[in-house]
Symmetry: C2
């Protein structure tokens, strides 16, 4: 395989990148100047060597403990599935506490049990916590994982909540799927 095809082959490993797009990216790299390509190449190795999990919350960080864990009150913990969920929450500025990243969901079908995700680590940091917000995905595995964690945390006398599920803001009710609509109807809020 020549270098160009090899690079396209590497790009094709990225999510949602097919053969044509991969080749387009490879051509873009070949048209970069040498310094830019060098920088791109180094960014890939850097991310693997410098970035690891935060010792407390499991989010990506280049330090021992991430900036969020260092700076914020640990009164409320928001439990998410992946580091990218933390990024989405932070972008919305809707939460000011700390996170806990599970790095997966409980999924008996895929052979992933409670011990395969960071649930033990969550239980170990509940001292002094007043509320645990479960922000796993609103799908079967995310719901099951949330229910499992709720059953473990509630008996400790800590408030447990789940993010609301309903129709997306700015969406058309006409196009909402029926499960979402039923959920939005059930969880309706008195005005």
């Amino acid at each position: 395989m020549n270098s160009l095809d090899k690079l396209a082959h590497e790009f094709a490993k990225l999510p949602g990148v097919g053969a044509k797009t991969a080749m387009r990216y490879a051509y873009a790299v070949i048209n970069m100047n040498a310094a830019d390509a060098e920088e791109f190449s180094r960014a890939i190795t850097d991310v693997k060597t410098k970035v690891h999990y935060c010792r407390e919350c499991g989010n990506f960080t280049e330090d021992d403990v991430c900036e969020i864990c260092r700076r914020r009150s640990k009164d409320v913990i928001c439990v998410v599935t992946y580091p990218k969920d933390v990024a989405a929450m932070e972008k919305s500025h809707c939460f000011g506490g700390v996170y806990h990243v599970l790095h997966g969901t409980i999924s008996p079908l895929s052979g992933r049990g409670a011990d395969d995700i960071r649930i033990k680590e969550l239980l170990a940091r509940l001292d002094g916590v007043s509320e645990v917000i479960l922000a796993t995905n609103p799908d079967v595995e995310g719901e099951a994982t949330a229910m499992y964690i709720a059953a473990l945390v509630k008996p400790l006398g800590i408030k447990v909540s789940r993010i609301a599920q309903g129709v997306s803001m700015g969406s058309d009710i006409e196009y909402a799927d029926s499960v979402t609509l039923s959920r939005a109807m059930e969880s309706r809020i008195p005005l």
Copy 2:
């Protein structure tokens, strides 16, 4: 900027990649194993250090002269704009001769004249050539470039042709733009 944002920033330089997709790619890299990421990183530097223009046709190659120029008859030359056009032609198996890559079009508006693309190099290799096929894009700049080259090559007694323009195979006439339809009508072929 942390390593993850830095990598996303690099990915965002690729064509058609926005901030969200770039971050998705960066997360994919962080989830690769270290060896795969190393390979990806090396593929980027390799493509810049190993790949250059073929001395004859201007296509990308890792050798002095590319495989197509080494193996095929130089009787007919197909003139294209970019190396990716060679890749597209080769994929269709519609041409068995050699190529000439211009690396651009004549574009007075962008300040690119005939000397800024590889037209001199084309004229220098016309010895013994029986036909020059112009396969530049069917747009204003591609057409102008084709006309310019035709005016230079025809007086040398060499046959010059242009790839046919008309409705795409498998497309709906209903959705064809009017310029394409007019061209298809003008160039109609007697059956």
